[in-house]
Amino acid sequence: MLKYIRRRILGTLPTLLLVVTFVFFFVRLIPGDPARLVAGEQATQADVEVIRVKLGLDKPLGTQYIEYLVGLIKGDLGTSLRTKRPVTTEIAGRIGNTLKLAFITLAWSTVVGVIMGVWSGRHRGKWQDYLGMTISVSGISIPSFWLGFLLIMLFSVKLKWLPTTGASSWKSFILPSVTLGVAIAAIIARFTRSSIVETLKEDYVRTARAKGLKENIVIWRHAFRNSLISVVTVVGLRFGFLLGGSVVAEAVFAFPGLGTLLVESVNYRDYPAIQSLILIFSLQFLVINLVVDILYAALNPEIKLG
């Protein structure tokens, strides 16, 4: 197992290097002069040149790239043009909130999605199925920013139960998490349903029923356990969707996370911050996929670990 894990981690490294390279050159395409941006509109050309040297932008692209890679290994992501502070400091102050939001959301939406999917799947073609699938197709169609505002109107403005912004207490996580998680739960429900419907056709399910097991046991112990593998895969893949969605959900609630930082940085054309944030987002996604792969191997005895 350890050997398998090590091999999977090594397998991710080339993708990671490609992502880093891609982000580096990609962000260099941003129009406008970053040195001018830092110096300000009124600065003289000489001042701009001083800043250009300070930012290392006067060097050839290849040198910049090498320096960037070396910096990355040392954990140096450059300096934010907007706040003049190291990007790592900016990210460190916010990544906790975003990760907390992501994992809380992933947890509840997986549970809700699985229960809803199993419920629809076991009542295939009946009204329960129809209801469950109507809810979930609506869940993937609803604009999350709109849902967020509806929740604010109901729970913050009308009932005054929950705060509209910030991340100061556990209460501030509820609305952003619901906003973010509805679509994820809906996707997981759709997937679980089709997986359960397939599994229920299997011979061992018929056998389990034939020997008189209770339907609940047949569903959860036999059918669901075997659908679990594909559910884990889809949950992992949707984590990226969740990270992307968090940008929008955070914007609605002015939540102090990486998403709002990304939007602010894009508006300011703060390219060191943009490139680091995009990198951090895809890094989180790659790590989760790695974990899912390993979980998948652990859950599925058919996969050879050699």
Binding site: T15, L18, V19, F22, V23, F26, V27, L29, I30, P31, V137, S138, I140, S141, I142, P143, S144, F145, W146, F149, L150, I152, M153, V157, F239, G240, F241, L242, L243, G244, G245, V247, V248, A251, V252, L262, V263, V266, N267, R269, I274, I278, F281, S282, Q284, F285, L286
Partner: protein
């Protein structure tokens, strides 16, 4: 004599019956699709949306940028069905007019993404080797950017604006189509009919476009329909974040973002654009589901 007559009649009847029940794949698909009533309703709604996109501008009661400072932030009424915004603009007219923007952005982005992805997938899957390795490596790299992040990155470089949103969403949907079509091509290129075409001396282009592509078309159509809904959603999210359409464009996501300043005094400004996005995306998703079930050969009734 009468007996022979009857026999001939029966034969004729049998032929007629057979003709009536000939099951071409297309007829089969239409029949299966029509059985799913909500998908038919969704399709009807999409047709109405398309009509609105084309003719809506001739039907709206007010001009989309017609200011009326005597009627700002008004709730829904007989004169303004969906109320007015902070400039007294009629929201109903703006939402109707915004239909063509959302449809155009969603459709053009997915069409570009589907075309590029299909061509790349066909090339990679058919020629394998070096081309395939490069295409799939790029697709993997693009897949490593979660969800809307890639679109935001592209907009950060190109600058905000609707046309850049189209490019961003197109790039973002290309790898999905590339992977789908590549997988299909890989399985079709070893099939007997492709081998036969090859032995008959058909050119690569002919094999790819006449023999392999048609086999991938059902999958492409389903993915295409399913992508339209999510593209409209992504595009309006970008506009909501201030990276897409710019004021005073009557784009639904932008109108919604604008409404957040009036959440306490005039919540209707946010309500109606959100409903418009919801129903549009919902109809494409339900239509896509119906299409998928109708095209899926595994699902027989």
């Amino acid at each position: 004599m009468p007996i022979v007559q009857t026999a001939a009649d029966t034969a004729c009847e049998a032929v007629r019956k057979e003709k009536a029940s000939i099951r071409t794949p297309m007829a089969d698909m239409v029949r299966k699709f029509r059985k799913q009533r909500n998908s038919v309703v969704a399709l009807a709604f999409i047709i109405i949306l398309v009509m609105i996109a084309f003719f809506g501008d001739f039907l709206i009661p007010y001009q989309i940028n017609e200011y009326d400072y005597s009627a700002t932030l008004e709730g829904p009424s007989g004169a303004h069905w969906f109320g007015t915004d902070e400039f007294g603009r009629d929201l109903f007219s703006r939402i109707i007019s915004g239909t063509k923007i959302s449809l155009a952005v969603g459709l053009s982005a997915v069409t570009v993404g589907a075309l590029c992805g299909t061509i790349l997938g066909l090339l990679g899957g058919y020629y394998r080797g070096f081309i395939d390795a490069i295409i799939m490596r790029v697709a993997d790299t693009l897949f490593a950017f979660p969800g809307i992040i890639l679109a935001i990155a592209i907009v950060a470089i190109l600058g905000s604006g609707l046309s850049n949103v189209v490019i961003a969403v197109a790039v973002f949907s290309t790898p999905t189509f590339a992977r789908l079509v590549r997988g299909k091509t890989l399985s079709l290129r070893t099939s007997v009919f492709v081998q036969a075409a090859k032995n008959l001396g058909a050119s690569d282009a002919r094999i790819i476009f006449r023999h392999i592509l048609p086999g991938a078309v059902p999958d492409i159509i389903v993915q295409y329909t399913m992508s339209i809904g999510s593209s409209i959603l992504t595009a309006s999210s970008l506009s909501f974040l201030g990276m897409g359409a710019q004021p005073p464009t009557p784009e639904w996501g932008l109108m919604l973002a604008n409404g957040r300043n009036y959440i306490l005094t005039a919540p209707h400004i946010m309500l109606f654009p959100g409903l418009a996005i919801l129903f549009t995306v919902l109809s494409f998703n339900i239509f896509g589901d119906g299409l998928r079930d109708a095209l899926d050969p595994k699902l027989t009734d």
